[in-house]
């Protein structure tokens, strides 16, 4: 995602250097746009989140104290923006449900589907059709699990960085991550299971 190799200077950003700000925007926009797209599921909302994230960043740059890295700080703003947009869109969602669930851990997990699709060749598991299935599956996750999965598994943040970005304990991040992973695995297993079943009937 780097357009230029050199590190972004927080010092320059905080003096209001517009060129440095533009470099920061270019360096992080792909990642933040991807996060927003996966969270919201549509490009128009993702663009709003992207714009709001950098507007917020611009307003609050002076308050950035470097307790986390610049990228984690931006992920934090983008995550908040995305969650706020979802809350505005569907105010009836009770976010405390997910919080309650998370305390309980995965409990007695019983896999919904045990098709052995892990060995399918990549050309077969990553087609344009299956990309849609991946996108649909991630949208079925509760927002509070989805954001953890996106930050940790798609964006590659560490558990610690994810916990900083979301203001959660590392234990809560781990619990939500495992739930999210298992639910997505179940969803994909149902899909690939049917695919393999149909193929064996032919």
């Amino acid at each position: 995602m780097d357009k230029e190799q050199t590190e972004i200077s927080v010092e320059l950003l905080q003096t209001g250097d517009r060129h440095e700000f533009a470099r920061m925007v270019d360096k992080y926009s792909n990642a933040l746009y991807r996060l927003a797209l996966k969270m919201l599921g549509n490009p128009r909302d993702a663009e709003d989140v992207l714009q709001n994230t950098f507007l917020q960043a611009f307003q609050h740059l002076k308050e950035f104290e470097g307790r986390s890295s610049l990228s984690t700080w931006l992920y934090r703003i983008a995550s908040n923006e995305a969650l706020m947009m979802i809350r505005r869109r569907r105010p009836e969602i009770d976010f405390s449900d997910a919080a309650r669930e998370e305390e309980e851990g995965p409990g007695d997990y019983e896999p919904a589907e045990l098709t052995d699709w892990g060995h399918l060749p990549e050309a077969e598991v990553l087609t344009s059709e299956t990309r849609l299935v991946l996108d649909q599956a991630i949208q079925t996750l509760p927002e509070t699990l989805r954001i953890v999965f996106i930050l940790r598994d798609i964006e590659g943040l560490s558990i610690r960085e994810t916990s900083q970005a979301l203001d959660l304990s590392e234990t809560a991040v781990k619990t939500r991550l495992l739930r999210a992973r298992l639910r997505l695995r179940d969803e994909l297993s149902v899909y690939y299971g049917e695919k393999m079943h149909n193929r064996s009937k032919k």
Binding site: S29, E47, G118, T130, R131, R181
Partner: protein, 85 residues
């Protein structure tokens, strides 16, 4: 996941994320590997879980901000002078 042996399926569940991420001690890893050799259900869950994470990473790799979105972003932020850089 009801198979009973020394290292059981429920214990695996507690370490599943760390195992998939490669964050466990060698000793615990070997114990889990032994369990996976004996328990087909758990092996499938682990394999397909690995693959699930891999597919999401892979499918997100090419996602880029479209040119017109970048342009609107730069204008909103009043940094359009740097659009060419």
């Amino acid at each position: 996941m009801t198979h009973k042996d020394h290292y059981n399926c429920q214990a695996l569940l507690g370490n599943l994320s760390d195992y998939v991420d490669g964050c466990l001690s060698d000793e615990l890893c070997q114990e889990i590997d032994r369990h996976l050799n004996e328990c087909e259900d758990c092996r499938i869950v682990v394999d397909t879980l690995h693959k699930t994470i891999y597919l999401y990473q892979k499918s997100a790799e090419e996602a880029e901000v479209p040119g017109e979105v970048r342009e609107r972003l730069f204008r909103t932020l009043k940094i359009e002078d740097y659009l060419q850089s």
